[in-house]
C-alpha cells in the first residue's frame, strides 16, 4: 500500500514537472511582457511596476486587427473548399468502386510526407506567373492543393468503413449517386468532417513558410507569418516582442481551451491515420 502510494506520488510529480516544462515558455513570455518596453528582463521575475500598456502598444504596432482579419479570411478561403473537395474524392475513392481509383489514391498518399520546402520554389514562380504574389490567394490556392493528400486520405478512411447496406437501400429507392452522397453519407460523416475542418484550420492559421515566401505584407498573411515579421522588426525589444507574441497566440489558445476535447481527438486521430 505504502509503496503504491509513493509510486503514485512519483507519477504525479513527474507529470507536473512535464506540464511545468510545457508551460514554462508561456509563463516566461508573460512575465517579460510586463517589463518596461526596451529593457532586458532577467529570467522569470515579476516586475516592480507591471506595464500592462505593453499589450496595447503591441496591438497597435503589430496591426493586430488587420492581421486577425487577414488570417480569418485565409482560413475561410481554404478550409470549406478543402473539406468539400476532399470529401467528394474520399467518398468516390472509399465507397464507389472506381476503376483506377487505387492509382489515384496512391498518388494522393505519396503527397502525405511531402515537406513544403520541396515545392516552395516552383510555387513562387507559379504564383508570380498567375500575378497573385502578395495577395491572400497566394496562400489560399496552394494550401488547398497541399492539404489534399491528408484530406483525401482522412475522408477515404471514413467512407471505407461506412455501411454499404445503406447505399444499396438508397439505390433501391432510386437515389442518384449525388443524392446518395449528400442525403445519406455526408450527414453520417459529420464527426470526421468536423475533425478535418479543425485540423486544417489550425494548420492554415499556423502556416509560416507560404506566408513568408509568397506574401511580403504581414496584413495579407497568416498569424504565424505576421508573428515572424513582428519578430524581425521587434526582435531586440523583449517585452514588446513577448506582449505581441502572446496577443497573436491568444485567439488560438482560447479556441483550443474551449474546444480542447475536439482538438485533442482530432489531432490524435489525425496523426494516427496520417
Amino acid at each position: 500500500m505504502i509503496i503504491a502510494r509513493r509510486n503514485s506520488v512519483t507519477g504525479t510529480v513527474l507529470l507536473v514537472i512535464l506540464m511545468g516544462v510545457t508551460l514554462l515558455p508561456f509563463v516566461s513570455m508573460f512575465t517579460s511582457a510586463l517589463f518596461p518596453s526596451g529593457t532586458y528582463p532577467l529570467g522569470i521575475s515579476w516586475p516592480a511596476h507591471p506595464q500592462w500598456g505593453n499589450f496595447v502598444q503591441a496591438f497597435d504596432v503589430a496591426n493586430m486587427g488587420a492581421i486577425f482579419a487577414s488570417s480569418v479570411s485565409i482560413v475561410i478561403g481554404v478550409v470549406p473548399v478543402s473539406v468539400l473537395i476532399a470529401t467528394l474524392a474520399g467518398f468516390a475513392l472509399g465507397h464507389l468502386r472506381l476503376r483506377g481509383g487505387q492509382i489515384a489514391f496512391v498518388l494522393f498518399v505519396l503527397g502525405l510526407t511531402l515537406p513544403f520546402e520541396g515545392v516552395i520554389v516552383p510555387l513562387y514562380y507559379e504564383i508570380r506567373d498567375m500575378d497573385l504574389l502578395g495577395s491572400r490567394w497566394a496562400i489560399i490556392l496552394p494550401l488547398i492543393g497541399l492539404f489534399m493528400p491528408f484530406g483525401v486520405y482522412w475522408m477515404r478512411a471514413h467512407f471505407i468503413s461506412a455501411p454499404r447496406e445503406l447505399s444499396e437501400a438508397a439505390r433501391v429507392d432510386g437515389a442518384t449517386t449525388w443524392q446518395l452522397f449528400w442525403r445519406v453519407h455526408v450527414p453520417l460523416a459529420r464527426p470526421a468532417l468536423a475533425s478535418l475542418a479543425i485540423l486544417l484550420s489550425v494548420w492554415t492559421w499556423n502556416q509560416f513558410l507560404l506566408s513568408l515566401v509568397l506574401v511580403d505584407n504581414p496584413t495579407n498573411g497568416t498569424m504565424a507569418g505576421a508573428l515572424g515579421a513582428f519578430q524581425g522588426e521587434w526582435g531586440t525589444n523583449i517585452p514588446l516582442l513577448s506582449a505581441g507574441s502572446l496577443l497573436i497566440l491568444t485567439p488560438t489558445i482560447i479556441l483550443f481551451v474551449v474546444f480542447q476535447r475536439h482538438f485533442v481527438t482530432a489531432l490524435l486521430q489525425g496523426s494516427l491515420k496520417g
Partner: protein, 317 residues
C-alpha cells in the same frame, strides 16, 4: 439501377435480357464516369499546386538559373554539388542530427511518462495533462521559436535556473555557441513534439487489456519486464506513428530554425529547408536549391518507408 430494370424483367424475361444487359453496361460506365467527377476537383487542386511543382522542381534541378535570365542546362551538376560540397553535406547531416532530438527525446521520454501516467494517474488529472501537453501542437512553431530563443539567451530562464542550482559556470548563450546551437534547436523541437507523443502513447496504452498486466504481475514480472513484454509490443503502431511524425518534422524543420538562429552561428544550425529557401531567394541559385529540394523529398520518403513497413509487418503478425 436495379429498381429501374426489374419491372421490365418481370414482364417478359426471356426475350428482353439482351437489352437490359447493354443498358446495365452503359449505366455502369456512366456510374464510373460520375464517380470520377467526384475525384476531379481534388485531383485538379493537387495536380496544380503539388504534382506540377514537384515536376518543376525536378526540371529546375537540371539547370543553372538565377530566376531572371534564361536558364542554362547543367546536367547532373547540381546533384554532384549537393553530394560533394562540404557545406551542403553538413546541412543534410544537421537534419539527421535533429532526428536524435526531435524523435529520440519525445519517443523515449514519452514512453516513460506515459507508462507512469497509465499506472498512477487517474481521471481528471489525465484530462488536464492531455490539454496542457497538447498546447505546443496548437501554437505556431514560430511562437515556440520566439519563446525559446528568449529562454535560451544569456538573460533567459535556462541560465537563471542553472546558476540557481550552482551550475552557473555552464550558463551561456545556447543558441549562439557553435557547439550548443544545434542541440538547443533540437531541444525546442523536442519540446514541441514531446506532448504529442506522450498523449499518443498514453492513448495506446489505455487500449491494452488490463488482464494482461494482471497476469504478468501474478507471474511476478516487475514494472520493467511488464513494459518490455506487454506495453512495447502492443504499442508498435503508436510508436511507428510517433517516429513517422517526428522524423518528418526533423528532416523538414524550417520555422523553428528560421526564427531562433537563421541557420547560424556560421552554418552550425543550417538545415535543408532553410538552405533551399536561402539558395533560391537570396543566392539566386534556383537549380541548386531545386536539386537539394528533391534530395530532401527522397530522404523523407526513404526514412519513412522502413518505419511504415516495420509497423505493417508487426500488425500482420
Amino acid at each position: 439501377m436495379t429498381s429501374a430494370i426489374s419491372p421490365v424483367r418481370s414482364i417478359g424475361e426471356s426475350h428482353l435480357t439482351a437489352a437490359p444487359r447493354a443498358l446495365t453496361k452503359r449505366r455502369a460506365r456512366g456510374a464510373q464516369l460520375r464517380g470520377w467527377l467526384f475525384v476531379i476537383p481534388a485531383l485538379v487542386a493537387y495536380a496544380a499546386f503539388v504534382l506540377w511543382p514537384i515536376f518543376q522542381t525536378f526540371r529546375y534541378s537540371f539547370y543553372n538559373w538565377d530566376g531572371v535570365d534564361p536558364a542554362q542546362w547543367a546536367g547532373a551538376q547540381n546533384y554532384k554539388t549537393v553530394f560533394s560540397n562540404e557545406q551542403l553535406i553538413g546541412v543534410i547531416g544537421h537534419a539527421f542530427e535533429l532526428i536524435l532530438f526531435f524523435s529520440g527525446i519525445p519517443v523515449v521520454l514519452g514512453l516513460a511518462v506515459a507508462t507512469v501516467m497509465r499506472r498512477f494517474v487517474t481521471g481528471r488529472m489525465s484530462t488536464v495533462a492531455r490539454t496542457v501537453l497538447f498546447l505546443p501542437q496548437v501554437v505556431p512553431l514560430v511562437a515556440a521559436g520566439i519563446a525559446w530563443s528568449w529562454m535560451l539567451s544569456t538573460t533567459g530562464v535556462v541560465d537563471e535556473v542553472l546558476s540557481k542550482v550552482g551550475l552557473g559556470s555552464l550558463a551561456q548563450s545556447w543558441l549562439g555557441g557553435f557547439n550548443t546551437a544545434l542541440p538547443a534547436v533540437g531541444v525546442i523541437g523536442a519540446w514541441v513534439l514531446l506532448g504529442l507523443c506522450t498523449v499518443l502513447l498514453y492513448a495506446g496504452m489505455t487500449k491494452v487489456d488490463p488482464a494482461l498486466y494482471e497476469s504478468a504481475q501474478l507471474d511476478g514480472a516487475g514494472p520493467f519486464r511488464e513494459f518490455l513484454a506487454i506495453t512495447l509490443p502492443a504499442l508498435r503502431q503508436e510508436v511507428a506513428v510517433c517516429v513517422t511524425v517526428t522524423v518528418i518534422a526533423a528532416l523538414s524543420a524550417f520555422d523553428i530554425v528560421y526564427i531562433s538562429t537563421q541557420g547560424g552561428p556560421g552554418d552550425a544550425t543550417m538545415v535543408p529547408g532553410l538552405e533551399i529557401y536561402q539558395l533560391a531567394f537570396y543566392n539566386r541559385q534556383v537549380g541548386l536549391a531545386s536539386a537539394l529540394a528533391l534530395v530532401l523529398m527522397v530522404l523523407v520518403i526513404g526514412c519513412i518507408l522502413p518505419v511504415q513497413w516495420f509497423a505493417r509487418r508487426g500488425a500482420e503478425q
